[in-house]
């Protein structure tokens, strides 16, 4: 089983005439740079960061998606580029890797870095910019979108290293420590307590960790307490078990005053003023709530009054406004914000409540208009429906008529066929009777011609009735006449 990432056959090292040190990496590897003069001349005199923000040291609030992580440094991409084979790396990382081997670290396709890089899609850049990032400085917990973090780091962060205030000193110091102009924080001073020489910058650390003289023994409890920044006073006033203290229920009338640990004991065992004390606390709480409610009530009343005044003043204007919106019904209804914002702009609102109330009223009037429109549309709809259905009913009646006529015609035709057959039979009988009874005669000839005439007449009648349809009244009369004729025959 071959291990992963065995070199692909046929890959060759690319020939490049370019110098091996790329411009990009030389720029980024220059980690310490003097601030440019333009920034120093800035009116605000903000000291800029001297060490570029290290993107790899950034901590992200949420876990970063695996697809946004550079496979070389394993942190979210910083100014990424894409290789011709489609793989993305931080520019710095891929440049370092290519210095050693001119192939893509993932699939070992040859890369000519001076020519082959492609920019990444903007959508990736945006995703990276929006990552919520924490300031990489120790002690700073500022969080913002990553694109803004560099500005924070360089201009604002109190923990960024900047040049020492004293021009002759070339050391760096956290920004919040160089507030005094011309004061070098690296100058040695003597510790106030142990008198050892300590740099100003290190004074806090010295007091906290090294200086033994900065700790004194509490006169009451023998504990070793730091004397810096009034911590001894705090200790005596709040913590020291041997210092004198008053009972917690002092305000309720308890007069116990003793060493703190005895007072604590007394409190634990149940001070007799405790009930009173709690009652007083409760009362104070109630009073506070009442005051709060009174204040709110007053403000609400004020709002109500102004609202009332305003409504009276604006009533005429509102009516005008309403009619205007009603005439421009379609437009204002599809886009109510435009119609409501215009009056809001022209009037100055005394408070957000008033504004909201006015907006609410407008919306209500719009609702009313909409309701009316819907009613009207409903009516129109039902009217047109009635109209259409009437037409359809008429057509049905007409069709029924026609069907009746057609059935009549069929009946007539069948009838006529029946008659014809009867007549032919009768004629044939008469002819045979005549032939049998007597020899040739005038009477026999005239009877034959009579029969032929009848045949001609009936065929023309059938033709005229078949194409009738529209002229059915006339043809009906004709056909009726013809039926009479036939029955007479």
């Amino acid at each position: 089983m071959p291990p992963p990432n065995t070199p692909v056959d046929g890959t060759t090292t690319p020939q490049s005439t370019q110098p091996s040190q790329p411009a990009q990496s030389s720029q980024s590897s220059q980690s310490v740079s003097r601030p440019t003069s333009s920034i120093i001349m800035d009116a605000s005199q903000v000291k800029t960061a001297l060490v570029k923000m290290d993107y790899q040291a950034i901590d992200y609030v949420n876990p970063v998606d695996e697809t946004l992580i550079c496979p070389i440094c394993r942190t979210a991409f910083h100014s990424p580029i894409t290789t011709p084979c489609g793989h993305t790396f931080c520019a710095k990382c891929i440049n370092r890797a290519l210095e050693r081997q001119r192939v893509c670290p993932i699939d070992r396709q040859p890369i000519d870095k001076t020519r082959d890089y492609r920019p990444i899609p903007l959508i990736i850049k945006e995703q990276l910019d929006r990552l919520e990032a924490r300031c990489p400085n120790q002690g700073c917990d500022y969080v913002c979108a990553r694109e803004n973090l560099e500005a924070h780091y360089e201009r604002h962060c109190e923990f960024t290293l900047v040049h020492c205030s004293k021009p002759s000193c070339d050391k760096l110091v956290a920004r919040h420590l160089c507030s005094i102009e011309g004061q070098c924080m690296h100058e040695m001073t003597n510790c106030d307590f142990c008198l050892k020489p300590v740099a100003f910058v290190d004074l806090d650390a010295h007091w906290e960790q090294e200086c033994e003289a900065a700790f004194a023994t509490c006169p009451d409890c023998d504990a070793s307490v730091s004397v810096v920044n009034n911590s001894m006073l705090k200790h005596i006033q709040q913590e020291c078990p041997e210092a004198m203290a008053k009972c917690k229920w002092d305000g309720a009338g308890c007069r116990v005053t003793d060493k703190r640990r005895i007072v604590r004991e007394h409190e634990r065992n149940g001070c007799m003023y405790e009930t009173v004390g709690r009652l007083l606390e409760q009362q104070a709480e109630d009073r506070r709530i009442i005051q709060d409610l009174t204040r709110r009530l007053a403000s609400l009343e004020a709002v109500r009054d102004t609202r009332r005044r305003e409504r009276r003043r604006d009533s005429a204007a509102t009516i005008n406004d309403r009619t205007a919106t009603a005439t421009a019904a379609g437009g204002s209804l599809t886009n109510p914000t435009t119609s409501t914002s215009t009056p809001a702009d022209s009037t100055t609102w005394e408070s957000p409540h008033n504004y909201m109330l006015a907006q609410f009223e407008r919306l209500e009037s719009h609702m009313e208009e909409l309701r009316e429109m819907v009613c009207e549309m409903d009516m129109r709809q039902s009217a047109s429906f009635l109209h259409h259905s009437k037409q359809v009913a008429d057509r049905f009646l007409e069709l029924g008529d026609k069907v009746g006529v057609l059935s009549m015609h069929t009946k007539w035709l069948l009838n006529m066929q029946y008659m014809q057959r009867n007549a032919q039979l009768r004629a044939a009988n008469a002819a045979s009777l005549a032939a049998a009874a007597a020899g040739a005669g005038g009477a026999g000839l005239s009877g034959g011609s009579d029969g032929l005439n009848h045949g001609g007449e009936s065929s023309s009648g059938a033709g005229s009735s078949s194409d009738s349809g529209l002229r059915y009244q006339g043809s009906r009369r004709g056909s009726e006449g013809r039926i009479e004729n036939l029955t007479r025959l």
């Binding site: 071959p2 990432n5 590897s29 790899q56 210095e99």
Partner: protein, 155 residues
């Protein structure tokens, strides 16, 4: 400049490794960013490596991950050197992945361990590399300076 780069990358890896590792791989110690110890074992029932656990030592240079780490098996009373035609009896591993040509900066400790696991799993030859005894006796070079000739593409 490069030392923090390696440290940061290893910090990230350590963070990930201490959360989860693939089966058969265990972190023994990672007290600094120079030397880590890991235990690996073969997951399938290969009779050559059954019921054995092997100790790996990673040594990282300041140029990691651009340069490969030095990875060797370490012999301890309960941690033998696995028998394999590409592993010398002093623990030195002949694997192109760990050489300068085969290494890629996208590799990491976890992927190296997995590659070694699969290298052992796929082996069925109960033998050491040719010339093992002489090499072990004579070699004074560090593993990274040895020029291996990767001739065998089957394992």
């Amino acid at each position: 400049m490069s030392a923090p780069f390696a440290a940061k990358r290893l910090g990230k890896e350590l963070q990930k490794i201490s959360n989860s590792l693939p089966p058969g791989i265990e972190l023994v110690s990672a007290d600094n960013f120079e030397e880590w110890l890991l235990d690996i074992r073969v997951l399938d029932d290969n009779p050559l490596y059954r019921n054995e656990i092997y100790r790996l030592r990673f040594r990282f240079s300041s140029t990691y991950p651009i340069e490969p780490p030095e990875v060797v098996f370490v012999k301890l009373p309960d941690r033998p050197i696995p028998i394999h035609p590409h592993i010398y009896s002093n623990g030195i591993i002949c694997l192109d992945l760990l050489g300068h040509q085969g290494w890629s900066p996208v590799q990491n400790v976890e992927s190296v361990c997995m590659s070694l696991q699969s290298m052992l799993t796929g082996n069925s030859k109960n033998e050491r590399p040719p010339g093992d005894e002489e090499f072990v006796r004579g070699n004074r070079l560090r593993p990274r300076d040895i020029e291996f000739y990767y001739h065998d593409n089957d394992v």
